[in-house]
């Protein structure tokens, strides 16, 4: 389901589109809420409430971006509100609100970066995934080899496989975007030539 069809589905209250909210966003939203609330189940409740509310209030969105922004910011505000009701100190709330500032449609969204990367990592074979994750943590090949009882060569090969897979899928998911960007670049090159 492409983004446009997805948003139209949400606006029509199509169940399939709502299932997609879970497949695409549920996990990353819970992880985002855990930044505020820690890992105690409340995060899942907050995310669930937000999705149910979109359904019940028959919300419609003008674009996929507006939808994403709405999700992240609702989680942020929902979590801050929850803490406020729990009587958490004002100072700590301010600190949290500043650390995790509201997400703006026109700015880079860190959670979206994690979301896309995690979605691809999900599909890597188990060993390949383990090696790649340790590598992302900043570990050297030799350290990974020792930790997983593997040869350095195996680590290198698996890492390469992981990277090739990720590159391919990232490009695929952004294909339309690459196309638009390169087209613009070509236009600007032409303008300079003139």
């Amino acid at each position: 389901m492409d983004n446009e069809t997805f948003i139209q589905g949400i606006n029509r209250r199509d169940t399939e589109a709502y299932k997609q909210i879970y497949d695409r966003y549920y996990r990353i939203l819970v992880v985002y809420a855990e930044n505020f609330l820690g890992n105690n189940g409340t995060s899942e409740d907050i995310v669930q409430d937000i999705i149910v509310n979109i359904w019940e209030a028959k919300m419609t969105f003008v674009s996929y971006n507006a939808f994403k922004t709405y999700l992240y910011n609702s989680v942020r505000n929902g979590a801050l509100n929850y803490l406020k009701h729990q009587g958490v100190a004002e100072k700590y709330l301010e600190h949290l609100a500043q650390t995790y500032s509201p997400i703006d449609e026109s700015e880079v969204n860190e959670e979206e970066i994690y979301r896309r990367l995690f979605a691809i990592i999900d599909r890597l074979p188990t060993r390949c995934r383990e090696i790649f994750l340790l590598c992302m943590d900043g570990k050297k090949n030799s350290e990974i080899a020792t930790e997983l009882h593997l040869s350095i060569e195996t680590v290198k090969t698996q890492k390469k496989r992981a990277m090739a897979y990720i590159r391919e899928h990232l490009d695929k998911s952004y294909l339309w975007l690459l196309f638009i960007v390169t087209e613009n670049m070509m236009l600007s090159d032409l303008l300079i030539d003139c």
Binding site: T15, Y18, Y22, D23, Y26, R27, I28, V30, V31, E34, E44, Q48, D49, I50, V52, N53, W55, A57, K58, M59, T60, F61, V62, A66, Y70, N73, S74, R76, N77, G78, L80, N81, A97, S101, P102, E105, V108, N109, E110, E112, I113, Y114, R116, L117, F118, I121, D122, F132, L133, L134, M136, D137, M163, I166, R167, L170, Y174, L177, L178, V181
Partner: protein, 378 residues
């Protein structure tokens, strides 16, 4: 921005090409916030930990809980949908019938007793175009925007003071015919919107020099005096500026009527911009000129207490009010009847039949349902 997100994702996973890296580096140099963002992402040493927490979350369980929740409601909805479909087929047959016979008095498509009074409902339009339908919602707090939360309940909408200061965003409440809606703005000002009305307002007033909102239709304002900023209502080219007040604005036609219940307000229009101060118990009718008279405010504001009060009102005007509240068409057959004057009071929860009976008894006119309209004739 999505392109930058892609490049960062590639950079993090070490799958970026040289030319892409160049592009990303230029972006990082553009702004210190870009550099800070990259630093934060690159020094996140708990990447695998974050991924593992992510992977452990049970999406399927959450999805099934959601589906169970909505299925109950979908079923209820279906029953109504089929009932509605049946009704449409019936009315289609009826109108097809009359299309061919061209009867001047088409058969009634509804009974007077079935016409429901208005109820609590509205549509909320957010700054980015997102729409929510509001009704007698269960009480809950929701985030409607980057930094703004509202409490929703059967009593209406209450804007909570914003958590963070950002550029001012505007929301709009649209109340359809047959609806009414109450809301409380972030400064504590309470507004009661009547049917077929629209109000546009900033979600927070912190960045504004005055508390300005725009209205069409009718609304009753109880302005919070808890602010040093003037509260201003714009209706077409008329400006109502308050100084701690309760007032009603009725702007369904070209000459908005403003009634001051208590406090003090100034009214001005585009023509000369001169502000006229109202005393409590005064009515300003804003045509080409602003005309001020002393009035009894009750008939102007009783709708907010759930009653219609008509004092020597033209039937034509009464019909307009009823059409908005009951969401029906009323046709008055001739001019003489339209000019009849009525005095009386009736609850807004009464059926329209009750009101129509009262009218027909009082002035010996005939009320019938003709096609999809209510017809008042001699």
């Amino acid at each position: 921005m999505e392109y930058i997100e892609l490049l960062i994702t590639k950079y993090l996973s070490d799958t970026i090409s040289e030319s892409e890296k160049q592009f990303l580096q230029n972006w990082i140099k553009e702004d210190t916030t870009h550099r800070q963002l990259m630093n934060r992402l690159l020094h996140d040493k708990n990447f695998s930990e974050k991924y593992r927490r992510h992977a452990a979350i049970d999406t399927e369980a959450a999805k099934s809980a959601f589906l169970r929740h909505i299925r109950k409601r979908v079923w209820q909805y279906r029953v109504w949908k089929y009932a509605a479909a049946a009704a449409i087929i019936v009315s289609a047959i009826v109108s097809a019938h009359y299309l061919f016979t061209e009867d001047k008095n088409p058969a009634p498509q509804f009974a007077l007793a079935e016409v429901e009074p208005g109820n609590t409902r509205a549509i909320l339009v957010l700054d980015n175009g997102t729409q929510l339908s509001l009704g007698e919602n269960e009480a809950k707090t929701i985030a409607i925007d980057d930094s703004v939360s509202v409490e929703m309940s059967a009593e209406g909408l209450t804007y909570l003071p914003a958590a963070t200061k950002k550029e001012t965003k505007f929301n709009t409440i649209i109340v359809p015919r047959g609806g009414e809606y109450r809301l409380t703005l972030s400064d504590g000002t309470e507004i009661y919107l009547n049917s077929e009305s629209e109000l546009r307002y900033p979600v927070t007033f912190s960045e504004m020099s005055e508390r300005k909102v725009q209205l069409s239709g009718e609304a009753y304002f109880s302005v919070s005096s808890d602010s040093e900023k003037a509260f201003v209502v714009e209706v077409g080219n008329v400006r109502v500026c308050q100084y701690g007040t309760v007032f009603d604005i009725n702007a369904y036609d070209d000459s908005p009527e403003i009634v001051l219940v208590s406090g003090s307000i100034g009214v001005s229009n585009d023509t000369d911009g001169k502000e006229i101060r109202l005393q409590s118990g005064q009515l300003a009718v804003c045509g080409e000129e602003i005309v001020v008279t002393d009035v009894d405010v009750t008939p102007y504001i009783e709708w907010t207490n759930g009653r219609f009060v008509f004092i020597d009102r033209r039937l034509d005007d009464i019909a307009d009010i009823l059409m908005r509240w009951y969401n029906v068409e009323i046709e008055i057959e001739d001019k003489d009847i339209a000019e009849l004057h009525f005095t009386g009071s009736v609850g807004r929860n009464e059926t329209i039949q009750h009101i129509m009976n009262a009218i027909s008894y009082a002035q010996n006119v005939k009320v019938t349902v003709s096609g999809d309209k209510i017809k008042i004739s001699k």
